[in-house]
Subunit: 301 residues, 3 copies
C-alpha cells in the first residue's frame, strides 16, 4: 500500500503484517525510553479540517516516538477561512516538503483526493462518514490481544451505524480476519445495507453470544436532527451490565471515545474489567507508528 485510505483491496496478509509491526512498536512503548530513530528527518503533518485533539495527539506521539518532526495544520486557525481550498492547502504543505499527511475532514473523500495532489503518503485520519482506518486497525489489534483470534468470533457494533466511519471501517476490516460482524441501532440510524455486516434493529440479537461489543458515541446532532429521542435511545440501545448477559460470559467492551457515560453505555461498565477502552487508546499509538513506518520506510514503499 502507498497510502492508508480504507481497506478496499486489502488482504488478510497485509492486515496481519501491519499488526505484527504494531506489536513491535508496542514493545518500544513499554521501554523507559520510548523513542526510536526510525523516522528521523521525515516530516509528518497533521492536517485537520475537523477538530479532534485525541486523534491528533495519538498520531503526533506515534510520529515523535519514531523521531519524525511534526507540524500541525488546523483549518480553524488557517487560511481556509479565507476561502483557500483543500487542494491549495495541501499543495502548499507539499511544496514545504512534507513526507506524510494525516488528513481528517468532515467531508468524505478528501484523503482520496489528496493522493492526487501530493507526492507524500496520505493517512486517512477520519473522513466524513466514510472511513477511519487507523481506528479499525487499533480495534482489531485490541480484539486480537483480548480474544487471541478473530476467526469465528462474533463482534457487535452498537449505536449510530448510519453516520459512523468507525463502524464502516470495522465492517471492512474485521471480516478479513475471520470475524462475524453484527451492527445494531435504531432504524433511523441504520443504513439500508452494509456489505460485510449483518444488520438488526434489535440490540439483543446483535449481543447474543457476542465475544465483544463495540459501543459507538451518540452524537447530539442526531437528536437535534430529530432522528432519535434520547430517552428512547437509552431505553432500547444503551449497553448495560444487564443486557450484556446475552453476550458470551466475559464478553469485552470497546468504545472509540470520547464516551458519553450513561448515554450509549452504562457508566460503570466503562471502568469494569470488561472494558478495553484504555487498551484501545494505548494500542492506537503503536498501530499508528506501524502505519507510518510501513508507508514511509517499510514495505509500503
Amino acid at each position: 500500500m502507498r497510502h492508508l485510505l480504507d481497506f478496499q483491496g486489502w488482504t488478510k496478509a497485509q492486515v496481519e503484517n501491519t499488526l505484527d509491526t504494531a506489536r513491535v512498536m508496542a514493545e518500544v512503548l513499554e521501554r523507559p525510553v520510548k523513542k526510536v530513530p526510525a523516522l528521523q528527518g521525515f516530516t509528518v503533518a497533521t492536517v485537520f479540517f475537523e477538530p479532534s485533539t485525541r486523534t491528533r495527539i495519538s498520531f503526533e506521539l506515534a510520529a515523535r516516538r519514531m523521531s519524525a518532526d511534526v507540524v500541525s495544520f488546523a483549518a480553524q486557525a488557517s487560511s481556509l477561512q479565507k476561502g483557500e481550498s483543500y487542494k491549495d492547502t495541501l499543495l502548499t504543505l507539499e511544496a514545504m516538503g512534507i513526507d506524510a499527511y494525516i488528513i481528517r475532514a468532515d467531508s468524505a473523500g478528501v484523503p482520496h483526493q489528496a493522493t492526487r495532489w501530493v507526492k507524500g503518503v496520505v493517512v486517512n485520519g477520519g473522513d466524513g462518514r466514510r472511513a477511519h482506518p487507523t481506528q479499525a486497525l487499533l480495534d482489531a489489534y485490541t480484539l486480537l490481544e483480548a480474544l487471541g483470534t478473530l476467526e469465528g468470533r462474533k463482534i457487535a457494533i452498537v449505536g449510530d451505524i448510519l453516520h459512523s466511519r468507525v463502524a464502516r471501517s470495522n465492517v471492512e476490516l474485521l471480516p478479513l480476519l475471520g470475524a462475524e460482524v453484527w451492527v445494531a441501532g435504531p432504524p433511523t440510524l441504520l443504513p439500508q445495507s452494509l456489505p460485510g455486516a449483518r444488520l438488526t434493529p434489535h440490540l439483543d440479537e446483535a449481543l447474543a453470544e457476542a465475544d465483544a461489543v463495540m459501543v459507538l458515541r451518540l452524537q447530539k446532532e442526531r437528536m437535534e436532527a430529530g432522528l432519535i429521542h434520547l430517552q428512547d435511545y437509552i431505553a432500547h440501545y444503551q449497553v448495560t451490565e444487564a443486557r450484556l448477559k446475552k453476550a458470551k460470559p466475559g464478553a469485552f467492551l470497546l468504545h472509540p471515545g470520547p464516551m458519553n457515560r450513561d448515554i450509549e453505555l452504562e457508566g460503570t461498565l466503562a471502568d469494569s474489567e470488561r472494558s478495553l477502552v484504555n487498551r484501545q487508546v494505548r494500542n492506537g499509538v503503536a498501530v499508528r507508528m506501524a502505519v507510518l513506518y510501513h508507508l514511509l520506510v517499510g514495505k509500503g514503499r
Copy 2:
C-alpha cells in the same frame, strides 16, 4: 514527593533541594547551547483546561531543554466540548503513555484528583484559587537571589488575595524558608483567615519595612462582580513609588504577570531597578526544569 500539587507536608529541606537543582538548571540556561539530555525519551503533556500561554510556554521550554517530547492538550480545541470529563481526558492521555502532566484548571482540586487517575507524575500548573506551586517556587528562587536569605525577611503580597492561587501558594511556601508574609487588599478581596500570613486591609501596614512587595494582577471580573471599584482600588491599593517609601530602602517588586500597568502598580515601577519581574520569568524555566527533573528521574522517584 511524587507529584507537585501544593506545599502541604513539605519540609524546608525539600524546598531547598528543589531550589538547588533549579540553580544548576539556571546555569544550563546561560550556556550557548541550552539543552541537556536529562529527559530524553520522556513525554510531558501540558493539559490546560484554562488558557495561559505564558505558563504553557514556560513549562514547554523547561521540558524541551531537557530533551523531553511535549504534547499540548487545550480544552477549547478538544473533545471536552463534547462533554468528555476531566477524568476521561486524563485516562486517554495516560493510555497514550504520557510520563508527566502539567495540569491547569479553573476548578480547584483537578490536579489532586488526577493523581488518582494516572500513573504519571502530576504538576499543578494552577488550579482555581487553590494553588500555583511552581509560581511560588520561582518567586522564592527570585527572592533568595535578590535578598540572599528569606530568614526574618518581611514579604508583602498586595491585591486580590481572596481569589489568588499565587498568594495562597506563596503563603504556604515562604514561611517554610523563614519569611514573614503579610497580605493586604480591599476587605472584599481578603479571606477571613489565611494560615501562615498576617492579613490587613491597610496597604501601608503591609508595606512597612517590607523587604519585597509582590503585586497581584487585578482581574476585571472582580469589578464586574461589584467587589471593587477601579478608582477606589487605584486610590488605596495601587503600589506606587511614593507608597514604597514605607518599605525598606531598595525593597524589591515582584508580579506574577501579566501586569496591568497603572492599575495594580505604577507603570514605571515595572521597569525600574527594583523590579524582579523579568527575573521571575527567567527563573520560572529553571524552576520548572528542576521540578520535572526531580519528579521524573531524580530523588522524587
Copy 3:
C-alpha cells in the same frame, strides 16, 4: 545585519549572500533526511499577533530542519486578550531565553519596536502594510531560479498595492538585483508614490513585455470598505491567459498565496506551467533557513 525587518540599507552583496545560503539550504531539503544540526540548542519563537498558518509552518519547518526548538505564541490564545502589551509579551519571552523571534503583527512597526525590547534576533514575518521581507526574498530567489538574472528584467506586481506589504518589500528588494518593477492596480488601491517602482492604473502597461507577473491576493475587506467592486476588479485587473499575451512569451506567474482562483487570477493559470506558486512555497523554507542561519550563527552576528 542583526535583524531582518525590511531592506533599508541593504546592499546587493548582502542580498546575494543570503540567497547563496538559501541555495545551500535548498540542497539540504532535497536530501532524504532533511535535517542539519546547525541551530541545535537555539530556540525560535513564532510570535503571531495576526494569524497565518502557512507562514508560521514555513518558519517552523525552517527552524526545525536546522534542529532548533520552536515555541509558538499566538495572540488569540494568549494573555494579550487580558490587555498585556506587545512589549510585555516580548519581554516575557525574552526572559524565557528565546534566541530568535519571528514576529507577525497587524500594525506596522511592531518588529522594529521589538528590537529595542529584546536581545534576541528579530525577523519580520509581516507587519501591517509595511514589510514582509522573507516573502520578497523567496520571490527574488524564485525569480532568479526561473529567469537566471533579474538584471534588466521587468517584473509587474498587480492588485491591491496600497495595502500590500508583499508589494512594498518586493519594490524595495528587486531593484537591488537590477529589476525594473511596475505596479498596477485600481486607482483606489494604488499609493500616491512608491519609490523604486513605476505605478500605473493600466494593467496592460504593467504587463507589456514583462518577464514575470506577481499577482496579489484580493482582500474581501477592500470590497466591504467600498474601495472596489468585485466585478469591476475582475473585468479590469484579473490576470488571465489572454491578458498575459502582452507580456513576454512564457512570462512567469507568482502569487504569495493563498489564491482566490478566478478572482485576482484566472484559476487555470495557477496550475499552468507558467506558475511558480509552488516553487515560491518550496523556496520559502530554504530562504527562511538561510535568514535564521545568518542571524543566529552566520555572518549576521
